[in-house]
């Protein structure tokens, strides 16, 4: 039997990560509801599972440490210690340590042994304060198999055994036990004692009335004999007596000599003080590589060695890629069941249509049309359901914030209440994965900059405790996530002053509020007076905006001085389908994502200028925007080459605007993005392709990439 359990490790890691979040979530809730025993049990179970399973995989550091955590949890459960903030703090720290230890066994970083030990000592101390007194520390359990090779002698035992009368009801069979004894050696005699068997009428056939006395001759020690009775011990009357050695049979010396763990010769030399580690290192450095030796011996050519090395590298790279590749998703089985139902319907519709096709007559045309409509509906539903498979509730992201807010609040001396709502709102997995960091940033900012200190809040007549509200909801085809605080709000004067100092705007420029707030998204912008460990380093808001935009979303700010701020993130439901505007350039059709389009115009002659080194520009109400002829960038021919006859689409990316020149706008539609780089290669300025209703392939324009391309071309042209 192979004892290789490593194939189950991935499941263990995934499961443990879930248990760790259960613990964190649970501990935070426990602070609010200290008497909730169900909750405590849930936390305990999570820790317990990690401990047990880690032990199975021989991750002894993790299981050993978790044992201490579990002991404290158990003390909480029994009421030996109370749920207090220090205890919760400690348990949260301990949970983090477990996470580090888990990461370490997965090969992600390593655990700082001293830090782990420090927490462990605290856990022990925490338990020791229990009024009931020190509890006996149970050493890490070990599987109970005992086989000592101390006595190679045959011994005769007399065993008197009366099993409990409910032995059968416990699923035990005395015959099996007698058989097991026989396996240990030679049973010289078995006598059943029938004295306790009652009258036939009184016999309960499910009870055991027999006792046995057995004489066994064996090479096993008494403990092995006892272990046969391990499960039946409880309730049994058992006496095992050594009746004496019969005769000594010399056995060959045990071959199971305990082998020392294999050590390298260098280690042994160093240990014995014969050589210093430096000497060993120098000597090892003199060792030649196998390839060099083979080349010297002219066994192989240097090229062959090179090829082999190259192959080795490739294999390693491939192995690493394989390891990183698969990402799995947990799908609610009801979603899959619905999908299967729909596929069933699709098959029925298909067979109805093909049936019609076989014996088609013109008078059946209405029926055919009806079936086609049905087919359309099936297809659309299946599409929706398939997309739903990738949908993950945003609660998985929200869950990390209670902890974050709690830690931040205590380090900033603020009182914060975090309210979450809309956790069940579902988002595409890719979006979920990328939304965590921007949200974390916004929440940190809200605690650090947004909310005032308790005394300031009281002075302003606000409740001492600040509130941060995190909400997610559907709005049209998009998901809105709002981060709202009831703190001091954005300060217009500070932002304007800072923007002037940084040269983002000029003094005297009058800006509307809506134009002022987005200034905080500019790179390097921060008005925080003191740079703290949390925020104020000037990296942040620009990253937030960039991340959200790269997901095809937008960020909006609403704020009232003294009352608080609200950041609204609008995100597409999925990245696989976008709302796009289809435009025509000559025979080609391109799709421009709707989110990046601001307006479309037809300019007058005098609004078009050409400037050396900057190419063509168009004057849009006083702002000069670069004019990009799409057919220049992608090649091909346009029907219209005069800007005043063509259409100019003003598109924006990262705050930069340009005018794209196209022949004609065709209309708005949803398109499914097909990845280009998987089938062809990455093309700058193209985000992917899609297949239109008539089967034609249309490219989807990547506005940001397009800006880069056109900038480079202008630079070259200059």
């Amino acid at each position: 039997m192979s004892t290789d359990l490593s194939r189950f490790q991935d499941a263990f890691f995934e499961e443990s990560a879930e248990h760790l979040s259960t613990m964190e979530e649970g501990l935070l809730q426990l602070e609010q509801r200290p008497t909730d025993l169900d909750l405590l049990n849930r936390i305990f179970r999570a820790a317990h599972s990690i401990k047990g399973n880690a032990g199975m995989f021989s991750f002894t550091d993790l299981s050993g440490f978790t044992h201490h955590v579990e002991t404290v949890l158990d003390a909480l459960r029994n009421g030996r210690i109370g749920v207090t903030k220090p205890v919760i703090d400690l348990l949260l720290d301990a949970r983090d340590t477990m996470k580090t230890l888990l990461g370490a066994v997965q090969g992600q970083g390593s655990a700082d042994a001293e830090a782990v030990e420090a927490i462990r000592v605290k856990l022990e101390a925490c338990r020791a304060v229990s009024p009931v007194g020190a509890q006996h520390v149970v050493p890490l359990p070990r599987a109970e198999v005992g086989r000592t090779d101390a006595s190679p002698r045959l011994v005769r035992y007399r065993i008197a055994w009366t099993p409990p009368d409910d032995v059968f009801q416990r699923g035990l069979d005395p015959a099996r036990i007698l058989q097991e004894l026989a396996d240990l050696g030679t049973v010289n005699s078995v006598t059943a004692d029938l004295a306790r068997v009652p009258d036939l009428q009184a016999i309960d056939p499910e009870r055991c009335y027999l006792s046995w006395s057995i004489e066994l001759e064996t090479g096993s020690v008494v403990r092995d004999v006892e272990s046969v009775f391990e499960f039946v011990r409880e309730g049994s009357v058992l006496a095992i007596t050594d009746v004496g050695a019969q005769h000594v049979v010399p056995l060959p010396p045990s071959t199971a000599e305990p082998t020392a763990e294999r050590k390298r010769i260098g280690e042994i030399l160093v240990e014995e003080g014969v050589a210093t580690p430096e000497q060993i290192a120098v000597a090892l450095g003199k060792q030649k590589r196998l390839g060099d030796i083979l080349v010297e011996d002219r066994a192989v050519s240097p090229q062959q060695v090179q090829q082999a090395l190259e192959k080795q590298r490739q294999m390693e790279a491939a192995a690493a890629a394989r390891k990183a590749e698969p990402s799995s998703i947990r799908v609610d089985t009801t979603k899959i069941d619905k999908l299967i139902n729909l596929v069933g319907e699709l098959v029925i519709t298909q067979s109805m249509i093909s049936d019609l096709g076989h014996h088609f007559e013109m008078d059946k045309l209405p029926m055919l049309l009806e079936r086609v409509v049905q087919l359309e509906r099936n297809t659309r539903e299946i599409q929706e359901r398939v997309m739903a498979v990738r949908m993950v509730p945003i609660g998985t992201v929200f869950n990390r914030f209670p902890r974050l807010v709690r830690d931040l609040a205590s380090s900033k001396r603020k009182q914060v209440r975090l309210t979450l709502s809309g956790e069940e709102t579902e988002l595409d997995k890719t979006v979920i994965e990328s939304i965590g960091d921007p949200l974390t940033h916004l929440i940190r900012n809200a605690v650090d900059h947004g909310l005032e200190l308790p005394e300031d809040r009281i002075a302003r007549g606000k409740p001492e405790e600040g509130t941060i509200t995190l909400n997610a909801f559907h709005q049209g085809g998009t998901i809105c996530i709002t981060v709202e605080d009831d703190g001091r709000g954005l300060n217009r004067e500070k932002i304007v002053a800072k923007a002037i100092a940084q040269g983002l705007i000029t003094e005297g420029e009058t800006l509307s509020d809506d134009a002022v707030w987005p200034l905080i998204f500019r790179p390097g912008f921060s008005t925080a007076e003191a740079v703290t460990d949390v925020s104020g380093r000037g990296v942040g808001m620009d990253v937030v905006k960039r991340n959200i935009e790269s997901l095809g979303g937008t960020v909006m700010i609403q704020t009232t001085e003294g009352r608080g701020s609200r950041f609204t993130l609008k995100l597409p439901l999925t990245l696989a389908i976008i709302e796009g505007m289809s435009v025509r350039v000559g025979p080609e059709i391109y799709i421009v994502p709707l989110t990046s389009i601001i307006e479309s115009i037809r300019p007058r002659r005098e609004e078009i200028k050409t400037i050396v080194g900057r190419g063509e520009l168009v004057d849009v109400r006083g702002a000069y925007l670069p004019l990009i002829r799409l057919y220049h960038v992608f090649g091909g021919a346009a029907n219209l080459t005069d800007p005043i006859q063509a259409v100019l689409m003003i598109v924006e990316s990262e705050g930069e605007r340009v005018a794209l020149m196209v022949d004609e706008l065709l209309g708005q539609q949803q398109v499914v993005i097909k990845n280009l780089s998987q089938n062809f290669r990455k093309v700058e300025g193209i985000a992917g392709a899609t297949i239109l209703g008539n089967g034609q392939v249309a490219f989807i324009v990547d506005v940001r990439g397009l800006l880069t391309v056109s900038r480079e071309e202008n630079a070259v042209a200059a």
Partner: protein, 123 residues
């Protein structure tokens, strides 16, 4: 051998590991994610020759599950092994009082587990 084992554990990796070991040793394995699931498997027609169950589980824990099984006429005498990390005696006592046949103490290796399974598996 043709013997069936019902494995009850809320942990996927434990189920996989125990299931794999038993399957490799020639047993047929039925899995359940907690006590309640296991009970519904039993009432649904599963006829295991042996049950292996974890103790700490959501919904229905191992001890309640064992009591349930013992109350079912078909499984009155079926051996039940419990998986436990506690080498402490009180858990074993609780289990036995509920009707458990024996226990396997975690951590164990597959060989150790199979030995215990063989020990109690009805012939």
């Amino acid at each position: 051998m043709g013997k069936t084992v019902l494995v009850v554990d809320d942990s996927v990796s434990m189920r996989q590991m125990v299931g794999f070991t038993l399957t490799n040793a020639g047993y047929t394995v039925v899995e359940a994610v907690d006590g309640q699931d296991a009970v519904s498997k039993l009432t649904g027609g599963a006829k295991p020759n042996l049950v292996i169950t974890d103790l700490n589980m959501p919904v229905m824990d191992g001890i309640s599950f064992i009591k349930h099984v013992r109350a079912m006429p078909d499984f009155k005498f079926t051996p039940i092994l419990m998986l436990t990390t506690e080498s402490a005696d009180n858990k074993k006592k609780d289990g036995q009082a509920a009707g458990a046949t024996g226990w396997i103490v975690k951590p164990f290796n597959p060989e150790q587990m199979l030995n215990v399974v063989k020990k109690v598996m009805p012939g």
